[in-house]
Every structure is written in C-alpha cells, then in structure tokens.
C-alpha cells in the first residue's frame, strides 16, 4: 500500500513538487551559467532568491505531504482506516525521495555533466550530496513535520527553533572566543557530523513514536531534547575533535619530524592594517622557525593559543593566533610570524609584564597533489582537485583570475604563481588555505566556487611584478591543490620576554 498512499499524496502535491523540481533545476542551471567567475550581476542577484526558494520550499513540501495524514489530532480520517502505520511512514519517505531527492539528484547530475565532468563521477557526487541532505535535512524535517498538525503549527514551531538557534549562536558569539570553538576551524565537520547523527537519531525516535504510537507530547519533548543536544554539539571539546582528526589523518606520523622553535632573528612582524585586523585588539607577531618540513608541503594552524607565565608561575591567557606557511622546494628553512590578536584590555594589562610566553599549536600538514599549468589568459583546462578551470584578466587589469568548477567542494588549500614561460620569471607565489577536513561533501546547497586571483600590477605603482600585463600572453598559471596529510600538536616556549617587544611595526 506504500505506492498507493504515495500516489494519493502525489495527486495532492504534484504541482508543488513540480515547482520545487523546476526551482532545483533552475538553480543548477544558474550555477552552471554563473561558473566559474560569477561576473553576471543579474544572475548573481538571482542566487539568494534561489537559495531562499529551495531552503523554504523543500521544508514546505515535506511538511505538506506529512500533513496530508497528520499525526497529532483526533479528526483525521486516516486514523479510522485500515492503513498500516509502517506503510504510511514509508509512503511519506518515498515521497520525499521521489519529489525532493529525485530532482535534486538529477539537477546535481545535470550540473556535473554541464560542467564537463564524466557521467560516473557526476552521478557519484550527486548521490553523495543527496545522501547527506537526506540524513542531515530531509529526515529530521519529516520528523519535525510529524509533530505538527498543519502548516501554521509547523511555521510557528519552526520559527521557535530558528530563534533558539539564533539566540544560541548570539550567546555563543558573546561569551566564547571563536578560536576555542571547533566549529570555527577546519575540524568543524566533526561537531556537524555529531549534529547530523543526533538529528537523525532524534528523527528516527520521533518518527517511531509518532507513526507507531502517536505519542505527540512525548515526541515533542524528545525533539526539544534533540534540538538542545544538537546545539550542545557545538561545544565538542577541542582535544576530542582534534584527537578524532589525528586518528583520521591520511598519513599519520608524516609530520613527526617537524620541529618549531622561537626565532628572534626574524625580528618584529608587520602590523596588519586591513585584512586580519580585529577591532578592539592589538596584534603581536611571534617569529617562529619550522624545520624538517617536507619539500613542497604546507602547514597551517588549526588553533594557536598563547599564554603568559609570570615570575610566580601563574598563567594568563594572552590570545589566539593563526599562521600558514609553505616549504618551497629548494629553499631554506621557512620562518614566519604567528599573528596573535590580544584584546586591548589584556594588552594594556600585560604589555610590560615580563614572563615566559607559551605557545600551544594544533597544526595540519598539507601535501601538494601535483602542479598543473593553464594559460594565464583565455586558458581552459581540467586540473585535478580544482575541476574545470578557466582564466581571464580582471576588469581592473591588475590580476589574472583563475575560476574553477569542482564537482563538489573546492580544495581547501591552493598554491599558485604566474610564470612567464620563455624567460622563466615568475611572480611571488600565493598560498591560500582555509582548512576544511570534512571527509565528505557536507553542504546542503552547492554554492558557486571561490575564485583565485594572481596579481601582476599594482594600481598605486608601489609594487612591481616580474611578470606584468605585457607578458600575460606567454605566461601560465602554475597551480597546485593541497590535501591534508597529518594533524599534530607542538608547543613553543619563549623565555623572558614582554608582549610590547612583539607588536607589529
């Protein structure tokens, strides 16, 4: 009878389901059309509307089909009919699969094929995305809808849950340092996976209670408890999350020889005046030396905490910092400054206090997947890890843009440089890294990929580049994606110093 119930639901909801399918296809087409450079302002302005339509429409469609045979209440005709509860639940699930996930799979598949990927990988990527959305979004929504008897109830309850999330995030933002949160790092997938597991388990219990026992009050209580648990997952202890990540390292132990030390010879760092500057904070720059980094590897900090130990042995937290560095092949031992943001009031209190600075670093070592080249202007190539890539000069004619369309997510780290092929001259390489160690694609919606820019001209005229605009025709972008290989911890101690000595110049 599952199919029979499904057919009834389809008869009642097919118009809405078709509209949502069209929206999903339109979104996929928009992503294809926008990619890779997102230059068309009209299309760009459509994107938020599409996102809103999908994020509002899919829950609405799921709620609508559940409410066709609502669980709470005493007036529904299905309650007195010889309908197996299991069949009813499976029919609703089937509707979600066919009316929501079917078009989603086809739209993702279409996007992959339209972007030039082969059928197999496109289908695999579409299926993996669909599975994630089903587990993290659709099934919990199905359970949520089963707790309400009509759309208005669902809307009010949804609004309450939304306000709880917003309020929770606000309180979190006001009370806890972003740097101490797993959710603000490349390890964010761990609390998110925990949230998905809690959400799915909660949804399974709620659906069982509702469809097999019709215990709406108990189920609502459990759902509220699950929401609280989901929120609490954001507090996954750092060491627990990092421990999990370490155990999941693709090449554990590769970084065991990497050594960090304080390198006062590097001198003071330069004050950051725009990017990275934090209002109400003072930047201090601690020079560090990195030994035994494998050639062509890169290192980023997932978290860096600095403490000051005074003469009495008492510790005071100074602040959190971040760094990223790459070991260029054939170059010496890399050095860089750990950029630490110290709250104004903390700095005023500690700036002249002598003591020992202790730096705790949680780090990730990345390895290049192999360099690839693409012409700097009008280039078109498929680059492993990045997907289908195109190049062009930006409107201001100051940089070459590299736009790539991956099947799922763009790699979290990119290294690239602009090289004039006949002369071998190249501009300073760029290394951009936003750690994201999720082992699967964990986004509800596929978003336009980020663009990369390689500068060749400074409008102010202050900087000059070995490869300038006149050589672009004979130049190539040499780019490489980086994958995480190992996660590890290190500690560095700076004896007898003061914060004032390390402020930016």
């Amino acid at each position: 009878m599952i199919w029979h119930i499904f057919k009834k639901d389809w008869k009642l909801q097919w118009r809405f389901a078709v509209i949502m399918a069209l929206v999903q296809f339109a979104n996929a087409a928009l992503l294809v059309k926008m990619s890779p450079f997102q230059d068309n302002r009209s299309l760009n302005s459509l994107m938020p509307l599409m996102i809103l339509a999908i994020l509002a429409g899919i829950p609405f469609l799921i709620a609508a089909v559940v409410h066709q045979d609502a669980i709470p209440g005493v007036r529904q005709d299905w309650l007195v009919r010889p309908i197996r509860r299991r069949d009813l639940l499976l029919a609703k699930l089937l509707f979600v699969l066919i009316a929501v996930h079917g078009p989603m799979l086809l739209a993702d598949l279409f996007r992959g094929l339209a972007n030039g990927f082969a059928f197999g990988p496109s289908l695999a990527a579409a299926a993996s995305h669909g599975l994630f959305v089903l587990v993290a979004f659709s099934v919990p929504l199905l359970a949520f809808a089963s707790l309400t008897r009509n759309f208005m109830e669902a809307l009010v309850a949804g609004f309450i849950v939304f306000l709880s999330f917003v309020g929770f995030l606000f309180i979190l933002d006001q009370t806890i340092s972003r740097h101490s949160l797993v959710a603000a790092s490349g390890l964010s997938w761990i609390p998110e996976a925990a949230q998905s597991v809690v959400g799915l388990a909660g949804a399974a219990v709620v659906l069982s209670l509702q469809y097999f026992r019709r215990r709406t009050i108990t189920a609502r209580g459990l759902a509220a408890g699950a929401v609280v648990l989901v929120l609490l997952c954001a507090f996954t202890p750092w060491n627990v999350a990092f421990g999990i990540e370490q155990r999941m390292s693709p090449n554990p132990g590769v970084a065991s020889a990497v050594a960090l030390s304080f390198d006062p010879g590097l001198g003071r760092g330069h004050r950051v005046t725009s990017l990275g500057a934090v209002a109400g904070a003072v930047g201090i720059y601690l020079p560090l030396r990195f030994e035994n980094l494998p050639a062509g590897s890169a290192l980023i900090s997932d978290r860096a905490e600095v403490r000051l130990r005074d003469s009495s042995g008492a510790f005071t937290s100074v602040g959190s910092g971040e760094l990223s560095i790459r070991q260029e092949a054939g170059e010496g031992v890399p050095v860089t400054h750990l950029e630490v943001f110290v709250r104004d009031d903390v700095y005023q209190r500690l700036q002249d206090q002598p003591g020992q600075l202790e730096i705790s670093l949680w780090l990730t070592l990345f390895r290049g997947t192999g360099a690839h080249t693409i012409p700097a202007v009008g280039g078109s190539a498929s680059i492993p890890g990045f997907g289908k890539c195109l190049t062009k000069v930006n409107v201001a004619e100051t940089a070459v843009r590299l736009g790539c369309v991956p099947l799922e997510e763009a790699p979290s780290c990119f290294w690239g440089r602009l090289q004039h092929m006949p002369s071998g001259r190249s501009n300073p390489p760029q290394f951009q890294c936003n750690g994201d160690y999720s082992p699967y694609f964990d986004e509800l919606l596929v978003m336009p990929p980020p663009g990369r820019s390689l500068q060749f001209r400074d409008l102010s005229g202050l900087a000059t580049f070995p490869v300038d605009g006149s050589q672009l025709g004979e130049s190539q972008i040499i780019g490489e994606a980086y994958e995480p290989v190992d996660h590890f911890k290190r500690a560095v101690v700076i004896p007898s110093t003061r914060l004032r000595d390390w402020t930016g110049e």
Binding site: M1, L12, V74, D77, P82
Partner: protein, 306 residues
C-alpha cells in the same frame, strides 16, 4: 461486540484538568443498534474516540471486536465503519478519487455496493470534498463506511446539522444497508434514535446513568396520575422508583421507573391514603430521558449539599 470496563478519561492535568469520562462501563451486544445518549459534553464522542483508538483512556479498558481498543490493527479497522461529523477527509480530492483511494484498503469492499450507495446518496463523483456541504460530507462519510459491509458501524453524532430531508436520506440508506451489522451511535437528539436503536445508554457528565434495551425501557417507565380525595401533597417518604413527583390540586403525578401493571394500586396505596383513582400513561422516549436527567441532577445536588 464492544465491552467497556470502568473507562476514565481526563483531559489536562492538575486542578485545571477535567474528567470527561468517570468509570464508564457498558456492553454493546452483537447485532444491536446501540445508542449513546447525552447532552453536549456528556462524554459520547470521547467514548467513541477511545473505542476507535483515536484517544487513549486514562484508566479502564475497552474491547472492540474482541481486541483491546488500544491495539486495533488494520485487520479490525477493515471491519469497522466510522461516520462522524468531525471527520477531516482530504478536501482536495474528489468524491470518486477518495473512494478510489480507500477501496484497496478494504478486502471486502464491494464496488457495486459503493456505486449503489453513492447514487442513492446522490454524491457527485467529480465534486471536490472541500466543496461539499455539511450534509453532503456526512453522506460522503457514510458512503465511505458502508461499501465494505462492516461488522461494526460507529456513528458519532451522524445527524448533527443535517436538514430533515438529508437526515431521512441518510437514515434510509443506513437502514437499507444495516443487515447484520452492529451499530453504535451517539446523539443528543432523542428523536434521531427513536425507531432505530435497540439499546440505549444514557451518559451524563462522563457517567453512565443506565443502559437498557428500548423494549425494557419503554415497558418499565410510566407516568402515573393519582387522584386523591383531598388536596395532594408530596409524601415525606417517596419510594426511590418514583421520579419527578409533583402535585396539582388533588392530583399527584410521578414517573414510575419500575412499572408493573400488577400491584401498582397496592404500592400506591401503601404510600398515599385516600386514593380515589390511578391512571397510567405510556411515556415518550424524550420524557423518559428528561425525567432521568432531572433525577440525576437532583441526586448530584443532594450529594453536593451533603
């Protein structure tokens, strides 16, 4: 067919809670047309919803077709027809579409019977359910309850809000299809069950005041007029079977709840002196219920006063 034992239902909690049912017990015999009678709020619909496993009882038990009502499975529900004024059917489907939808769920669904009922009730197959009038929706509900020849037909206030013509059409169809089925119906309108019900139970504020076959009920209630030789007065000790006792001039009138032709005069004379004449009058169902309701209320007030 249905057995109810000490059924309690409480809505809400604490002081604000309300006992909708207070220890209800009754039995619906196979093949009977059993009527639950009572004013609005007496607990009729609550009882029916517990029997149909739509609501859960706070205490007590109910068995329907030999199964605990909390465990009614599709097998039992396939043998129960349910008609209620508070039944939400999918409004966006047409009459025909909804009948098409229901048909496969019932192994005993008779398509010819369905067509015949639909024609008799003059239900337009192409009309959307949400566009049906209240009376037509009740007919639709009946049309969905009869084609599978249910063993048990449950009618919850089936005539509420129906105009006389629709009511007659409804009853006509119901009686023509009744056959061997057991019918449980609730109503606050006595006229609706007169001539239909074989058994009756009277509910008042969640309590069962009595349950009886219609034949017994009609036989044991009589209005008795006693003409006395002097001005009538209500005696100090009134037999408990004498209800609604009142006087007018030399006539004392009461409702005898244990009427028996033989010995009536003797019983009256043992309570009243100077009896000149005794007349008895058969009572309409409405009068019987009015009397019983008054008696129940008086008894409660007396309990409250104590």
């Amino acid at each position: 067919m249905i057995q109810v034992e000490n059924l309690w239902k409480r809505f809400g909690r604490g002081i604000s809670g309300n006992d909708a049912l207070r220890g209800l017990s009754f039995t619906v015999p196979d093949g009977s047309a059993y009527a639950l009678i009572g004013a609005n709020g007496a607990g009729k619909t609550t009882t029916i919803k517990i029997l149909m496993n739509i609501l859960e009882a706070t205490r007590g038990s109910a068995t329907v077709l030999g199964v605990d009502s909390r465990r009614l499975s599709p097998r039992e529900l396939a043998q129960i027809g349910y008609v209620s004024e508070n039944q939400d059917m999918p409004g966006a489907l047409t009459v025909a579409e909804y009948l098409d939808y229901l048909r496969p769920f019932y192994p005993t669904w008779d398509r010819e019977r369905e067509d015949s009922i639909r024609r008799q009730l003059r239900l337009p197959p192409e009309r959307k359910i949400r566009d049906l009038s209240h009376g037509m929706r009740m007919k639709m509900s009946l049309a969905c309850a009869l084609p599978f020849k249910p063993k048990l037909l449950v009618l919850d206030e089936p005539f509420s809000g129906l105009d006389p013509l629709v009511r007659d059409e409804f009853m006509e169809e119901l009686l023509s299809q009744a056959g061997e089925m057991t019918v449980l119906m609730s109503s606050h309108e006595l006229g609706e069950i007169d001539g239909v019900a074989t058994h009756v139970a009277f509910l008042d504020e969640g309590r069962l005041l009595f349950e009886e076959s219609m034949g017994d009920l009609n036989a044991r209630f009589r209005e008795v007029h006693v003409t006395l030789e002097r001005e009538a007065a209500i005696p100090g000790q009134v037999p408990k079977d004498w209800l609604y006792v009142r006087t007018a001039g030399s006539v004392l009138t009461f409702v005898d709840a244990r009427f028996a032709e033989n010995g009536l005069g003797e019983r009256v004379r043992s309570v009243l002196s100077g009896v000149r004449n005794i007349d008895t009058e058969a009572m309409a169902l409405r009068s019987i219920f009015t009397t019983l309701a008054r008696a129940a209320r008086a008894a409660r007030e007396q309990e409250g006063a104590l």
